[in-house]
Amino acid sequence: MKPGDELELTVTPDRYLTVRYAGASGDFNPIHIDEEFAREVGLPGRILHGLWTMAQVARAHTDAAGGPGSLRRLSVQFRGMGRLEREITVRGTVREVDGDTAIVASEAVQDGKRIIRNAEAELRLEP
Protein backbone atom coordinates (compact mmCIF):
# COMPACT_ATOMS: atom_id res chain seq x y z
CA MET A 1 0.00 0.00 0.00
CA LYS A 2 1.38 3.42 -0.97
CA PRO A 3 0.08 7.00 -0.99
CA GLY A 4 -2.50 7.51 -3.73
CA ASP A 5 -3.66 3.86 -3.74
CA GLU A 6 -7.43 3.56 -3.77
CA LEU A 7 -9.90 1.14 -2.25
CA GLU A 8 -13.53 0.68 -3.18
CA LEU A 9 -16.52 -1.38 -2.06
CA THR A 10 -20.06 -1.33 -3.42
CA VAL A 11 -23.05 -2.78 -1.61
CA THR A 12 -26.82 -2.58 -2.02
CA PRO A 13 -28.79 -3.07 1.20
CA ASP A 14 -31.80 -5.27 0.46
CA ARG A 15 -35.35 -4.58 1.63
CA TYR A 16 -34.99 -6.48 4.93
CA LEU A 17 -31.40 -5.56 5.76
CA THR A 18 -32.34 -3.16 8.57
CA VAL A 19 -34.43 -5.87 10.24
CA ARG A 20 -31.49 -8.29 10.24
CA TYR A 21 -29.09 -5.59 11.38
CA ALA A 22 -31.45 -4.50 14.18
CA GLY A 23 -31.45 -8.07 15.48
CA ALA A 24 -27.71 -8.48 15.04
CA SER A 25 -26.77 -5.15 16.64
CA GLY A 26 -29.52 -4.70 19.22
CA ASP A 27 -30.56 -1.29 17.79
CA PHE A 28 -34.33 -1.57 17.32
CA ASN A 29 -35.06 2.14 16.81
CA PRO A 30 -38.32 2.00 14.77
CA ILE A 31 -37.06 4.58 12.24
CA HIS A 32 -35.02 1.67 10.82
CA ILE A 33 -37.64 -1.08 10.80
CA ASP A 34 -41.14 0.43 10.75
CA GLU A 35 -42.08 2.19 7.51
CA GLU A 36 -45.18 3.84 8.97
CA PHE A 37 -43.36 5.11 12.06
CA ALA A 38 -40.53 6.49 9.93
CA ARG A 39 -42.97 8.47 7.77
CA GLU A 40 -44.86 9.73 10.83
CA VAL A 41 -41.67 11.33 12.17
CA GLY A 42 -41.01 13.03 8.83
CA LEU A 43 -38.56 10.65 7.22
CA PRO A 44 -38.99 9.52 3.61
CA GLY A 45 -39.29 5.93 4.87
CA ARG A 46 -37.15 3.50 6.84
CA ILE A 47 -33.50 4.54 6.90
CA LEU A 48 -30.29 2.59 7.34
CA HIS A 49 -28.51 2.38 10.68
CA GLY A 50 -25.52 4.74 10.45
CA LEU A 51 -23.38 2.15 12.21
CA TRP A 52 -24.22 -0.42 9.53
CA THR A 53 -22.95 2.02 6.91
CA MET A 54 -19.85 2.61 9.05
CA ALA A 55 -19.37 -1.18 9.09
CA GLN A 56 -19.29 -1.08 5.26
CA VAL A 57 -16.55 1.56 5.45
CA ALA A 58 -14.68 -0.66 7.93
CA ARG A 59 -15.10 -3.69 5.66
CA ALA A 60 -13.74 -1.79 2.65
CA HIS A 61 -10.56 -1.27 4.66
CA THR A 62 -10.17 -4.75 6.17
CA ASP A 63 -10.84 -6.36 2.76
CA ALA A 64 -8.13 -4.19 1.20
CA ALA A 65 -5.59 -4.45 4.02
CA GLY A 66 -5.69 -8.18 4.73
CA GLY A 67 -8.12 -8.91 7.53
CA PRO A 68 -9.83 -7.70 10.70
CA GLY A 69 -6.61 -7.12 12.65
CA SER A 70 -5.42 -4.48 10.17
CA LEU A 71 -7.94 -1.83 11.26
CA ARG A 72 -6.55 0.11 14.22
CA ARG A 73 -8.79 3.20 14.16
CA LEU A 74 -11.76 4.52 12.18
CA SER A 75 -13.58 7.80 12.63
CA VAL A 76 -16.58 8.93 10.57
CA GLN A 77 -19.13 11.71 10.31
CA PHE A 78 -22.71 10.72 9.53
CA ARG A 79 -24.61 13.02 7.16
CA GLY A 80 -28.01 12.61 5.60
CA MET A 81 -29.87 9.33 5.56
CA GLY A 82 -28.95 6.01 4.00
CA ARG A 83 -31.82 4.34 2.15
CA LEU A 84 -32.67 0.71 1.46
CA GLU A 85 -32.38 -0.91 -1.99
CA ARG A 86 -30.01 1.72 -3.38
CA GLU A 87 -26.36 1.13 -4.09
CA ILE A 88 -23.73 2.55 -1.76
CA THR A 89 -20.13 3.05 -2.82
CA VAL A 90 -17.31 3.36 -0.31
CA ARG A 91 -14.21 5.00 -1.78
CA GLY A 92 -10.93 5.52 0.03
CA THR A 93 -7.53 6.94 -0.81
CA VAL A 94 -4.28 6.19 1.01
CA ARG A 95 -2.99 9.54 2.31
CA GLU A 96 0.28 8.49 3.92
CA VAL A 97 2.30 5.43 4.76
CA ASP A 98 4.84 5.43 7.59
CA GLY A 99 6.52 2.10 8.25
CA ASP A 100 3.74 -0.44 8.83
CA THR A 101 1.03 2.21 9.31
CA ALA A 102 -1.20 3.67 6.59
CA ILE A 103 -3.72 6.52 6.90
CA VAL A 104 -6.71 6.27 4.54
CA ALA A 105 -9.37 8.95 3.89
CA SER A 106 -12.75 7.75 2.68
CA GLU A 107 -16.45 8.45 2.25
CA ALA A 108 -19.64 6.51 1.49
CA VAL A 109 -21.88 7.80 -1.30
CA GLN A 110 -25.48 6.90 -2.19
CA ASP A 111 -27.47 8.60 -4.97
CA GLY A 112 -24.69 11.21 -5.23
CA LYS A 113 -24.98 12.11 -1.54
CA ARG A 114 -22.11 11.56 0.85
CA ILE A 115 -23.86 9.78 3.70
CA ILE A 116 -20.54 9.23 5.47
CA ARG A 117 -17.89 11.86 5.01
CA ASN A 118 -14.49 12.81 6.39
CA ALA A 119 -13.81 9.22 7.37
CA GLU A 120 -10.25 8.49 8.40
CA ALA A 121 -8.74 5.11 9.10
CA GLU A 122 -5.43 3.93 10.48
CA LEU A 123 -4.31 0.56 9.14
CA ARG A 124 -1.53 -1.71 10.27
CA LEU A 125 -0.01 -3.27 7.18
CA GLU A 126 1.23 -6.82 6.90
CA PRO A 127 5.03 -6.97 6.80
Binding site: S25, G26, G67, P68
Partner: protein
Amino acid sequence: MPANVAAIGRSYPPDVYAVGREKVIEYARAVGETDPVHLDAAGARAAGYADVVAPPMFAVVFAGRAITPALFDPEVGIDFAHLVHGRQEFRWGPLVIAGDEITTMTTIADVSQRAGLGWFVFTTESVNERGETVAVGTWTNLVREAEAA
Protein backbone atom coordinates in the same frame (compact mmCIF):
# COMPACT_ATOMS: atom_id res chain seq x y z
CA MET B 1 -33.04 21.87 25.87
CA PRO B 2 -30.14 23.30 27.92
CA ALA B 3 -27.12 21.03 27.78
CA ASN B 4 -26.35 19.78 31.27
CA VAL B 5 -22.62 20.42 31.58
CA ALA B 6 -22.75 19.07 35.15
CA ALA B 7 -23.00 15.58 33.63
CA ILE B 8 -19.44 15.79 32.22
CA GLY B 9 -17.25 13.13 33.79
CA ARG B 10 -20.20 11.04 34.93
CA SER B 11 -19.61 7.30 34.58
CA TYR B 12 -21.82 4.22 34.76
CA PRO B 13 -21.53 0.73 36.21
CA PRO B 14 -19.46 -1.61 34.00
CA ASP B 15 -21.36 -3.73 31.48
CA VAL B 16 -20.11 -7.30 31.07
CA TYR B 17 -20.78 -8.95 27.69
CA ALA B 18 -20.04 -12.61 26.89
CA VAL B 19 -19.18 -12.91 23.18
CA GLY B 20 -21.07 -15.84 21.66
CA ARG B 21 -20.15 -17.66 18.46
CA GLU B 22 -23.59 -17.49 16.88
CA LYS B 23 -23.93 -13.78 17.74
CA VAL B 24 -20.65 -13.01 15.98
CA ILE B 25 -21.79 -15.01 12.93
CA GLU B 26 -25.21 -13.27 12.90
CA TYR B 27 -23.52 -9.85 13.08
CA ALA B 28 -20.92 -10.73 10.43
CA ARG B 29 -23.67 -11.86 8.03
CA ALA B 30 -25.73 -8.71 8.64
CA VAL B 31 -22.82 -6.47 7.66
CA GLY B 32 -21.86 -8.59 4.64
CA GLU B 33 -18.58 -10.08 5.82
CA THR B 34 -17.30 -12.86 3.55
CA ASP B 35 -14.07 -13.84 5.34
CA PRO B 36 -14.59 -17.33 6.86
CA VAL B 37 -12.80 -16.28 10.07
CA HIS B 38 -16.05 -14.43 10.93
CA LEU B 39 -18.52 -16.98 9.61
CA ASP B 40 -17.66 -20.43 10.92
CA ALA B 41 -15.55 -21.95 13.65
CA ALA B 42 -13.75 -24.30 11.28
CA GLY B 43 -12.74 -21.38 9.05
CA ALA B 44 -11.51 -19.47 12.08
CA ARG B 45 -9.50 -22.44 13.38
CA ALA B 46 -7.99 -23.00 9.95
CA ALA B 47 -6.67 -19.44 10.17
CA GLY B 48 -5.23 -20.05 13.63
CA TYR B 49 -7.95 -18.57 15.86
CA ALA B 50 -9.61 -20.44 18.73
CA ASP B 51 -13.10 -19.54 17.47
CA VAL B 52 -14.88 -17.08 15.18
CA VAL B 53 -13.36 -13.59 15.08
CA ALA B 54 -15.62 -10.59 15.66
CA PRO B 55 -15.42 -8.00 12.86
CA PRO B 56 -13.98 -4.76 14.29
CA MET B 57 -17.36 -2.99 14.17
CA PHE B 58 -18.83 -5.72 16.41
CA ALA B 59 -17.70 -3.26 19.10
CA VAL B 60 -21.10 -1.58 18.59
CA VAL B 61 -22.77 -4.69 20.01
CA PHE B 62 -21.00 -4.79 23.38
CA ALA B 63 -20.22 -1.08 23.71
CA GLY B 64 -23.59 0.03 22.29
CA ARG B 65 -25.37 -1.83 25.02
CA ALA B 66 -23.09 -0.26 27.61
CA ILE B 67 -23.99 3.32 26.61
CA THR B 68 -27.74 2.76 27.02
CA PRO B 69 -27.84 3.92 30.68
CA ALA B 70 -26.09 7.15 29.68
CA LEU B 71 -28.48 7.75 26.77
CA PHE B 72 -31.47 7.38 29.11
CA ASP B 73 -29.95 9.14 32.14
CA PRO B 74 -32.32 12.00 33.10
CA GLU B 75 -29.29 13.87 34.52
CA VAL B 76 -27.85 13.95 30.99
CA GLY B 77 -31.21 14.98 29.59
CA ILE B 78 -31.07 13.91 25.93
CA ASP B 79 -34.15 14.89 23.93
CA PHE B 80 -34.69 11.74 21.88
CA ALA B 81 -37.11 13.30 19.41
CA HIS B 82 -34.26 15.46 18.11
CA LEU B 83 -31.33 13.08 18.52
CA VAL B 84 -28.93 12.41 15.64
CA HIS B 85 -25.81 10.21 15.71
CA GLY B 86 -23.30 12.74 14.40
CA ARG B 87 -19.87 11.13 14.62
CA GLN B 88 -18.28 7.89 15.67
CA GLU B 89 -14.76 6.75 16.29
CA PHE B 90 -13.29 3.45 17.39
CA ARG B 91 -9.71 2.57 18.24
CA TRP B 92 -9.05 -1.13 18.38
CA GLY B 93 -6.66 -3.33 20.30
CA PRO B 94 -6.42 -7.12 20.11
CA LEU B 95 -9.15 -8.95 18.17
CA VAL B 96 -12.30 -10.10 19.96
CA ILE B 97 -12.89 -13.86 19.67
CA ALA B 98 -16.05 -15.83 20.53
CA GLY B 99 -15.68 -16.94 24.14
CA ASP B 100 -14.19 -13.61 25.27
CA GLU B 101 -15.84 -11.68 28.06
CA ILE B 102 -15.81 -7.93 27.46
CA THR B 103 -16.28 -5.36 30.21
CA THR B 104 -17.21 -1.85 29.03
CA MET B 105 -17.04 1.37 31.04
CA THR B 106 -19.01 4.36 29.77
CA THR B 107 -18.13 7.97 30.63
CA ILE B 108 -19.72 11.26 29.61
CA ALA B 109 -16.72 12.90 27.95
CA ASP B 110 -18.37 16.18 26.97
CA VAL B 111 -21.65 18.04 26.96
CA SER B 112 -21.81 21.38 25.21
CA GLN B 113 -23.99 23.67 23.21
CA ARG B 114 -22.81 25.19 19.96
CA ALA B 115 -24.09 26.01 16.49
CA GLY B 116 -27.67 25.45 17.65
CA LEU B 117 -26.91 21.89 18.67
CA GLY B 118 -26.49 20.06 21.93
CA TRP B 119 -23.34 17.91 21.77
CA PHE B 120 -23.26 14.79 23.94
CA VAL B 121 -20.02 12.87 23.67
CA PHE B 122 -19.71 9.47 25.36
CA THR B 123 -16.54 7.42 25.68
CA THR B 124 -16.56 3.65 26.05
CA GLU B 125 -13.52 1.59 27.00
CA SER B 126 -13.92 -2.15 26.46
CA VAL B 127 -11.50 -4.58 28.07
CA ASN B 128 -11.28 -8.37 27.64
CA GLU B 129 -10.88 -10.95 30.39
CA ARG B 130 -7.10 -10.68 30.09
CA GLY B 131 -7.20 -6.96 30.85
CA GLU B 132 -6.40 -5.92 27.27
CA THR B 133 -8.26 -2.91 25.86
CA VAL B 134 -10.00 -4.22 22.74
CA ALA B 135 -11.93 -1.09 21.72
CA VAL B 136 -12.25 2.55 22.73
CA GLY B 137 -15.32 4.23 21.29
CA THR B 138 -16.13 7.93 21.02
CA TRP B 139 -19.86 8.42 20.40
CA THR B 140 -20.97 11.90 19.38
CA ASN B 141 -24.71 12.47 19.61
CA LEU B 142 -26.20 15.75 18.42
CA VAL B 143 -29.52 17.10 19.60
CA ARG B 144 -31.21 19.77 17.54
CA GLU B 145 -32.75 22.63 19.49
CA ALA B 146 -36.45 22.02 20.14
CA GLU B 147 -38.78 24.28 18.15
CA ALA B 148 -39.51 27.52 20.04
CA ALA B 149 -41.76 26.51 22.92
